[in-house]
């Protein structure tokens, strides 16, 4: 199972990287999400896959009865998903606004901040 997950993580990160290398902002955004989900799966796998029960202490006891699943990787992923989703939403809105005001979905044509023909540096001191 671990090997299957490892291959899946590798696949996610490969696809994410491939999409991130494209010039279209929307494709980059999708790549970012896939990359982020690959990382979430990586945390899940690194936190050990197990089929134990939920970490709940039965009534009357002070420690759990028998082996329990580790809740920490799930808590980490939950936090990462929430944060990643908020970043995704922001970047989606930003991409839309940039498309409206710059009339560009291609990062090569987004050249306001870094003009392609920047002036030569001054030769005088």
């Amino acid at each position: 199972m671990d090997y299957v997950m490892a291959i899946l993580v590798g696949l996610f990160i490969t696809v994410g990287t491939y999409l991130l290398l494209s010039r279209s902002v929307i494709r980059m955004l999708i790549g970012m999400t896939i990359f982020g989900n690959g990382v979430n799966l990586l945390i899940f796998t690194a936190g050990r896959l197990m089929r134990e029960v939920a970490p709940i202490v039965p009534p009357g006891l002070e420690v759990p009865d028998g082996p329990i699943a580790n809740p920490l990787p799930q808590a980490l992923i939950l936090t990462a998903i929430v944060i990643g989703f908020s970043m995704f939403s922001f970047l989606l809105v930003l991409a839309f606004r940039a498309y409206r005001s710059l009339d560009a979905d291609d990062t090569d044509t987004m050249r306001l901040a870094e003009p392609k023909r920047s002036p030569q540096p001054p030769l005088s001191y």
């Binding site: 991409a95 940039a98 901040a113 001054p122």
Partner: protein, 526 residues
């Protein structure tokens, strides 16, 4: 199972001492302040008053914290009744307390400076809320003792900086924000990936706990994690091969926001590198040492060349900021007491100087109405104070003696000379670092003084009219910048307490026994 023997190991049964709340109070105050700002956003002057009061309270807390840490050594506070490896710790040593204080001071100055720029139509945006949120993220990143929380605070910082960089909605800003947003989000995702692998290897993310168990893990795997951390923090700090997003985005928002970013964000990345690679994973840092030295040398040499080739004033500033990151990385590549002290002091110096540079650049842009140095000139005649502020900051950034920038450079040079020449086994790396630091100083000086000559000294182009309206707002901006410059000058003239503090802080980074002891994990040393 006997509950009485297991429970005390994991749980705290006493309440946190009232004095210890000072560790978390700066973050809590900022978050509450940011929430209050959202409620008050429709009022006219209340947002500013709340932001200033909150920042002053944060500064007061952090002064108290700094004094306590200087007297008692590192402090730690753990949340939620769980003991350190399980609960979330805030752990503070001298460096983190000093950086957090410097960040709050710069935020206060930027808040006052920004007031000079703000128009009535801009009065209803969320500028103040975002600034407080950014300060919360930065303070949290400095004070946390847990790597996953460092990630969370990075994201808090990131979302607040997204809000600030697009505030105003000019197409230029949207363009800068796309590049800034994607690359910084990618950097934090790399950081998260490193954390996942670290958790898989060690089963813990508490910094003090990692220090205990990391030497037992497989060194090759740990070096891989450390390399990922180096990539993530290097992107955040804009170290050489992954620096392109900084000059593409930092000049697009208003000058006050640029100053806040330049002072705080890249420095948090550099601090995270210092903390994670030198203090938490020293074994992996040794393996990465050639890479660190190479990055430091490349950043030191290439960044000021970018500044020389640049005609846009604030883009040139961006390259000077990146050059400073090279100096910090040089210290990380030489983990001697002088090297780490130099890095720490350089971070402190850069928080003030780089913010000041952008604030001065904002004054220049307002005075000339241009952002390109080709269209500037003759500002010296129009406004001598601004020209002096600008020149002092340039000299401080290059590390010319009377100013603050000189002292960390001196420590770094001492460390690199010790490594390259006078040690028992002189190395080329140390010597190259020495030369790079010196060449960087010269190139920065050339770039900076040429900017100064073009903006202030030569006569104005015919088409341009220099207008420095003597408004109240402008005087406010000049006063705020002067305060920063005054701090840089005074700290440079009386550096003794800073130098002592830096070496004390470096001792804690290099030998984190007191850091571990503060979290209460020392007795469980394997």
């Amino acid at each position: 199972m006997d509950a009485s023997t297991t429970l005390p190991m994991a749980m705290i049964d006493t309440a946190t001492a009232l004095a210890d709340w000072v560790l978390v109070l700066p973050i809590v105050l900022c978050l509450i302040g940011a929430a209050a700002e959202l409620v008050l956003r429709r009022t006219r002057v209340m947002p500013l008053i709340v932001a200033v009061v909150v920042t002053l309270a944060v500064i007061a807390c952090e002064i108290g914290l700094l004094v306590r840490v200087a007297a008692e050594g590192p402090l730690s506070m753990t949340m939620g009744k769980w003991l350190p490896p399980f609960g979330i710790s805030l752990t503070v040593d001298l460096f983190s307390a000093a950086f957090a204080l410097a960040a709050a001071i710069v935020t206060l100055i930027v808040l006052i400076y920004a007031e000079a720029d703000r128009t009535k139509s801009g009065a209803r945006d969320d500028f103040h809320a975002m600034v407080l949120l950014l300060l919360a993220g930065v303070t949290g990143a400095f004070l946390t003792g847990d790597l996953f929380n460092l990630y969370v605070w990075f994201e808090v910082m990131l979302i607040a900086s997204f809000g600030l960089i697009v505030g105003g909605n000019r197409p230029l800003q949207l363009d800068g924000a796309v590049k800034y947003g994607f690359l910084n989000f990618l950097a934090t995702t790399f950081f998260l990936m490193a954390l996942g692998l670290l958790y898989g290897l060690l089963g813990t993310l508490n910094m003090a706990d990692i220090m205990r168990v990391a030497p037992l893990a497989h060194p090759g795997a740990m070096a891989g994690v450390a390399a990922l951390l180096l990539l993530a923090f290097g992107m955040k700090a804009a170290a050489f091969p992954v620096n392109a997003w900084l000059p593409a985005s930092y000049h697009t928002p208003p000058a006050a926001v640029s100053a806040l970013f330049a002072g705080l964000l890249t420095k948090v990345g550099a601090y995270a590198m210092l903390r994670a690679l030198v203090a938490v994973l020293p074994g992996s840092r040794d393996l990465l040492e050639p890479a660190l030295a190479l990055i430091a040398i490349a950043t030191l040499l290439i960044a000021p060349l970018g500044a020389i080739a640049e005609t846009s004033l604030r883009r040139a500033m961006g390259f000077i900021v990146i050059g400073g990151i090279g100096a910090i990385m040089a210290g990380l590549a030489m983990p001697s007491s002088d090297g780490i002290a130099g890095s720490g002091l350089y971070i402190l110096h850069a928080i003030f100087t780089m913010s000041g540079l952008y604030l001065a650049a904002g004054l220049v842009e307002k005075g000339t109405g241009a952002s390109d140095t080709l269209q500037m000139g003759g500002l010296y005649a129009a406004s001598a104070p601004i020209s002096i502020l600008f020149l002092v900051l340039i000299l401080a950034a290059a590390g010319v003696p009377p100013f603050l920038g000189f002292w960390p450079k001196l420590l770094l040079l001492q460390a690199s000379l010790a490594e390259g020449v006078t040690s028992s086994a002189p190395s080329w790396v140390g010597l190259t670092l020495t030369l790079s630091l010196l060449v960087n100083a010269v190139l920065t000086l050339i770039a900076g003084t040429r900017l100064w000559a073009h903006v202030f000294w030569r006569s104005a182009p015919v088409a341009m009219t220099v207008t420095v309206p003597p408004s109240r707002g402008d005087r406010l901006g000049v006063a705020a910048t002067s305060f920063l410059v005054l701090a840089v000058v005074l700290a440079g003239l009386w550096p003794a307490p800073l130098m002592e503090g830096a070496s004390a802080g470096a001792a804690d980074i290099l030998d984190p026994a007191r850091f571990v002891a503060a979290t209460g994990l020392a007795e469980a040393m394997p």
